[in-house]
């Protein structure tokens, strides 16, 4: 990305973003104190929310929901309407931010197709999730006690069994773990209201009978050469996901496309750092290509409209060595970007691959550890929040870098770059990427530690003995 457009991007927030977030913050304050007692400020915030959705198809249900709050039990439809209104607002914020970023990057994005069709079947397995989410909303984050936080487990049980409910299961488990760790909140401590509001609203939508089936019908089959750019690593105590961003050179000679492919596994909390990659070992070709910096040849792999390749390791072969910086320099600027599926639009999902070069990395330690990239005066913060410890890409490697492949993120109200791979300033051939440990740690210290402790093997052995007696 060039310094001038970056300066413009960092300098201003698109019109309407602050106003939309003010409205969602108002709802989040109501969710903090609980729908059972919205108070005068809360009632005003809900009125504002109803007014803001007044000219949309959500107008009637949101109006009804707002008048139901504070008047006896809150109907399930009201919660869905409130979550829907919040999602519409965060979706609009996403669109404005991504539009500004695309302009700064000169990136061309596909037109969005029709949203996925609603699921026609009632889903009784979602009942537990809906009632837990209702109880949370009624109690408010301040009213969540240990028992209510633990209620996630019961809601989860029928969802874990069903692979098509994995999204909701993983989300409820993540939210439940946070609530267990932090609730009941000490009186002087504010909840992370926007974050928990985000998670709650998405969970409410995923728990609706009509929410479209996951992952939806494949739009087309893709074949060609896949050039990985880097791996975005996600994790909470019981889930691990690697989302690989890549360039696809279709074998039919079509234009190069930006795609992503995700592989995930459920896990337990003690599996962290060097021991997480073993969870994904079934995807040999993908992990091998990541660890060895190779391309992949794929044949007939389903590609969704949103740019997600549904990984089938048996339809992929490891290809020749592929330098990620070379691939990014050659193709990234001109690559076609996919439209974002309607129900995924949210600022947290913005993760646009970029190549940054010729910067000076500036590390500061006060008041807290921070890292910035200075590109000709444009100062872009590096996201230290999104810095997995399951690789050698630590702050030192980041601070000593002269070029990086990263993802543009919009977290906590500002732009930052999440590093996926860096080239050292002193020696650009010296590269460190987040998935270098995909086939095992490359750092001998961690390799030895993993061999000695083997937590995944130990737990699997226990499970074999105890669960299948």
């Amino acid at each position: 990305m060039l310094p001038a457009p970056l300066t413009g991007l960092l300098a201003s927030t698109p019109p309407g973003v602050d106003e939309a977030l003010e409205l969602t913050d108002g709802l989040d304050a109501v969710l903090t104190d609980g729908l059972a007692r919205p108070g005068a400020d809360g009632a005003r915030a809900l009125e504002d929310l109803a007014a803001a959705t007044g000219s949309s198809p959500l107008a009637a249900p949101v109006r009804e929901a707002v008048s139901s709050v504070g008047a006896g039990p809150v109907p399930a439809a009201s919660l869905a309407a409130l979550a829907g209104a919040r999602t519409a607002l965060t979706g609009a914020v996403h669109d404005a931010l991504l539009g500004a970023l695309d302009t700064a990057l000169g990136r061309t994005r596909d037109e969005a197709g029709a949203p996925a069709a609603p699921s026609p079947e009632p889903a009784p397995e979602l009942e537990g999730a809906r009632s837990w989410l209702t109880e949370l909303a009624v109690a408010g984050w301040r009213g969540v006690d240990r028992d209510l936080a633990a209620g996630a487990d019961a809601a989860l049980t029928p969802l874990l069994e069903d692979p098509s409910r994995r999204r909701l299961a993983v989300l409820l488990d993540g939210l439940g773990a946070e609530l267990r760790a932090h609730c009941p909140l000490p009186g002087d401590q504010d909840p992370p209201a926007r974050r928990w509001g985000d998670l709650w609203a998405r969970a409410v939508l995923l728990a609706q009978d009509a929410f479209p089936a996951w992952p939806g019908a494949p739009a087309q089959e893709a074949s060609g050469r896949l050039l990985p750019l880097g791996a975005d690593v996600h994790q909470h105590p019981t889930a691990f996901q690697v989302q690989v961003h890549a360039l696809l050179e279709p074998s039919d000679g079509g234009p190069v496309r930006l795609v992503r492919t995700s592989v995930s596994a459920l896990k337990v909390d003690v599996l962290t750092r060097e021991s997480v990659w073993g969870l994904l070992s079934e995807h040999t070709a993908l992990l091998g290509a990541l660890a060895e910096h190779r391309a992949l040849d794929i044949e007939g792999m389903p590609l969704l409209d949103g740019g997600d390749l549904i990984w089938h390791d048996d339809r992929a072969h490891k290809g020749g060595p592929a330098d990620r910086f070379a691939a990014a320099r050659l193709h990234l600027a001109g690559a076609a970007a996919p439209a974002v599926p309607a129900l995924e639009r949210h600022p947290a999902r913005i993760a646009e691959p970029v190549l940054l070069e010729g910067y000076a990395a500036k590390k500061t330690t006060k008041p807290a550890l921070a890292l910035e990239l200075d590109l000709d005066g444009a100062r872009l913060p590096v996201s230290l929040l999104r810095r997995p410890d399951s690789s050698s890409l630590d702050v030192r490697a980041a601070a000593g870098s002269g070029a990086c492949i990263g993802l543009m993120r919009w977290d906590a109200g500002r732009w930052s770059v999440q590093m996926l791979g860096v080239a050292a300033k002193k020696d650009p051939a010296d590269q460190t990427h987040t998935a270098d440990w995909a086939m095992g740690p490359t750092d001998p210290k961690f390799a030895t530690a993993l061999r000695n402790s083997d937590p995944l093997g130990t737990l699997r052995e226990r499970a074999g003995k105890l669960l299948r007696k």
Partner: protein
């Protein structure tokens, strides 16, 4: 977000959790290979409990912690960090956290072992579910990193 726990060896104490106001977990028997103990320490007044998963009381538990509870606390300190364990148990300052945790004393009580053991089995069951290859966009809210 949840503070990330630390990796550790699992042969001696395969399971530990901070839950229900207690540090509790499953400890392998030193002598019999198949036997496991369910041990716990409550937040102050530090009620101690230790029994096999068949609810046979641990012979080593008197006015002081038995070796199973000792292992549990040591591994919990590796897992969560000693400071977090001490705060959860409301261990008083005065001496070093490690010393205070190594010298826990309290009334002995016989907690039912079933709940913790069932949770251990549930924990293990997470590794039995198949992986997924469809994207989980919600995980963008959960970046891998260390939050402590």
């Amino acid at each position: 977000m949840v503070p990330t726990v630390y990796g550790r060896k699992l042969n001696k104490v395969p399971y530990v959790e901070l839950a229900d106001g207690r540090v509790q977990g499953v400890v392998s028997s030193g002598s019999a290979g198949e036997r496991v103990y369910v041990s716990s320490v409550s937040a102050a007044p530090h009620t101690l409990s230790c029994a096999t998963n068949n609810n046979r009381p641990c012979g080593g538990l008197g006015g002081r912690a038995c070796k199973h509870i000792g292992s549990l606390i040591a591994e919990a300190s590796r897992h969560y960090g000693a400071e977090r364990v001490a705060a959860y148990l409301r261990v008083d300052g005065g001496k070093s956290t490690e010393d205070a945790l190594a010298d826990l004393q309290g009334p002995v009580s016989r907690e039912s072992t079933g709940v913790v053991f069932t949770r251990f089995l549930r924990y293990l069951s997470y590794l039995e579910y198949p992986g997924a290859t469809a994207p989980v966009p919600e995980l963008h809210w959960f970046p891998a990193g260390r939050f402590n």
